[in-house]
Subunit: 413 residues, 2 copies
């Protein structure tokens, strides 16, 4: 290894998505190009993010350079191939052993570039790493690359990983609507969708409305206070129109007093072991409809597949995730540091984005909610403007490699 | 319409699958050929099965003849495009008004061929329609075409619809295993899979073991008595080996006293409205692991997508579903009646099936369980012989038509 050349390191952090490995693949592509141009030594991957890095758990990713098949497989592998962590660094001014350990590993491995792919909490790590390096005078270029299915980071049109989750949700809801349409008996189906704070994913359940004409009857986001009375009125209105009512609801909806709707079921309920028991929002509403209206009712919690169904990834999302990773590497080489990469939507008829960046200190620890103009005035559905914003993000399908009927996934280390 | 030519009618019944419309497409292909050869008039579809038929709810399917694009879209549409029903006919010897109404509609529309696509209960309808036609001397050729995701019909190697559900389950479990692998904190993930009586679908969660080397640590089928003590021992054994334990369990597992495992949670639990509350098998085991072992634990109920995720249909399943529908039509023309179509696996290195049939009276109202040689002796996993049986059924992927990021579904009438 040429000792004059600095190395780079990349880590993944926070919850998995179907696109975080595509972003990793993008960083690898950038590193591969820089390596072949003699600008860097190699690219290391942190195992389990900053938590593994402090213990020297790094793996050389040079085997991916120039290996298009491995890059392809990695781009279609869900979750975080390097492993993840949920580790909050201490305040920069306090410092602490973890900083000592991390910077000693960086120094030992001649690392001058630090890439961190993650959500809100991970951008906090990026900001602190950048500030700490400056504080101790260690020459480190630090770049955050966003990912989150929740789409709730500020300073970007949308987040890598969101489009694939949105496509999974929109498609699955279309299939559920087909399934629910087969019987003539009045029935209510409640689909519970991820998103504790922001309703972006739940909003995506409605995309079919402007594509196939079929969508949930009502959509409830956490941006609006949930009223059981209004909800029951909506359900009855829908049942008056047709027998197969489908409702989409965010796991994070709350009553006016701040309680989660799922908590309602907890108050009285004890499990077999006598413990209090949080049933989940969909289940709580299922029980409420059964008690109030008495018709056939079921709830479906879409659960983990929302963030890991890579077989149905959005083509747009994966391409953009690759692009943002590769661009991050280029910008780091050009001297950018302490920034989070971001997307800006280009004005015009055709959807297009350009990759930009923001000082990470300005975007970390903030939440971007679904804006008022994306929610109908009754608060029980999304507007066409919302769907027009969402639609380009789910377009396109990946060509997935299958072996013996199962998708081929890439395992690192 | 040539009045000398008899018409045919086809219906769908019972729970939806991702392949029941492919079988309908197969029947349409058979009818289209017969029509062009001057052997039948037209093919009608019953809306909502026998229940709609008795009220004259039929739709002419001739618009599908020779329209390959419509046939393709229909073959990739989940659930039952004609609608379904759950109607049990009275005993033949008792007769009754419903028979009068049904046969009057058949006569009015000059129908001589009756195709019914469905599961166990639907084969009961096939047997009764055949017997009743003979009893009253109405010349009706009656054929049952099997479908069920549960794979629990006797007299066939497997059922159309099962392969697609199995592929969805096996793939989703692979993705969940990726997702669960990202953290180093010990955690147990319990995946609840459909199949109240037979464990075929739950067994499919293990297919990865012989393809990718990754599969659930343990798999519990309803064919074996569930012991909470043995289960806890298994979970501890798995946690000793690695931090990310994944368990697959059938919704239908029961304790030695016959209670469903999900019922355990009902005994003490009341919902917000004071009602007893069945939590589901996965949730019950989640709560049990939390109480007993205290590690991080989550449960995932795969729910409806198991039977309606047509975007991930098995290529083998859809091709066979088309084939069995088309063959059913040919055999009916050749004079076969009162039979259910079936698959026989051809002996040999390469997987192949031939379409056969059984007298429907011999197969209706029976259940085919996972046999002993497919379950390991400890009762907590499946054998390689089981996986070798399952693997060919999930092979192949469909080319799905997408528009604006969503699959194109076919809507009839």
């Amino acid at each position: 290894m040429d000792k004059r050349l600095k190395n780079a390191v990349v880590g993944q952090s926070g919850g998995p998505t179907a696109a975080i490995n595509a972003t990793l693949a993008g960083v690898i592509l950038g590193a591969s190009k820089a390596h072949s141009e003699g600008k860097i030594g190699t690219l290391y991957g942190m195992k389990n993010g900053i938590d593994g890095l402090q213990n020297g758990m790094i793996v050389d990713l040079a085997s991916f350079f120039e290996d298009q098949a491995k890059i392809e497989a990695l781009s279609s592998t869900p979750a975080a191939a390097l492993g993840s962590c949920r580790k909050k660094l201490p305040k920069v001014e306090e410092g602490g052993e973890i900083y000592d350990r991390v910077f000693s590993v960086l120094k030992e491995n001649n690392i001058g570039y630090f890439f961190y792919i993650g959500g809100n909490d991970s951008m906090d790590t990026v900001a602190k790493m950048n500030a700490y390096a400056q504080k101790i005078g260690y020459d480190l270029t630090v770049i955050g690359v966003p990912k989150t299915i929740d789409n709730d980071l500020v300073g970007t049109d949308h987040t890598p990983g969101f489009g694939s989750a949105a496509k999974y949700i929109a498609t699955t809801v279309q299939e559920i609507i087909c399934d629910c349409a087969v019987y003539t008996v009045p029935a209510v189906t409640i689909v519970e969708i991820m998103g504790r704070d922001a309703g972006w994913l739940t909003a995506a359940s409605g995309i079919g409305r402007i594509v196939t004409g079929r969508a949930p009857d009502y959509i409830y986001l956490p941006e609006r206070t949930f009223s059981m009375e209004d909800f029951m009125r909506d359900v009855r209105t829908a049942l008056d129109k047709h027998p197969n009512v489908v409702i989409a609801v965010s796991e994070g909806v709350r009553f006016a007093d701040g309680r989660y709707v799922g908590e309602g079921t907890q108050s009285g309920a004890l499990d077999a072991f006598g413990h209090k028991y949080l049933a989940g929002t969909g289940k709580a509403l299922e029980l409420a409809v059964k008690a109030e209206i008495g018709c056939k009712v079921r709830s479906i919690e879409l659960n983990l597949p929302q963030r890991c169904a890579a077989h149905l990834a959005s083509g747009a999302d994966i391409e953009e995730s690759l692009l943002v990773g590769e661009t991050a590497f280029d910008r780091a080489l050009a001297g950018l540091s302490g920034h989070m990469m971001a997307f800006e939507r280009v004005e015009g008829e055709e959807y297009a984005v350009r990759v930009v960046s923001n000082a990470v200190a300005e975007v970390a620890n903030k939440i971007r909610y679904v804006p008022d103009e994306f929610i109908c005035k009754e608060g029980n559905n999304v507007t066409d403007a919302c769907l027009a914003y969402l639609l380009p993000l789910i377009r396109g399908e990946r060509k997935i490699a299958y072996k013996d009927g199962l998708p081929v996934h890439c395992v690192i280390g």
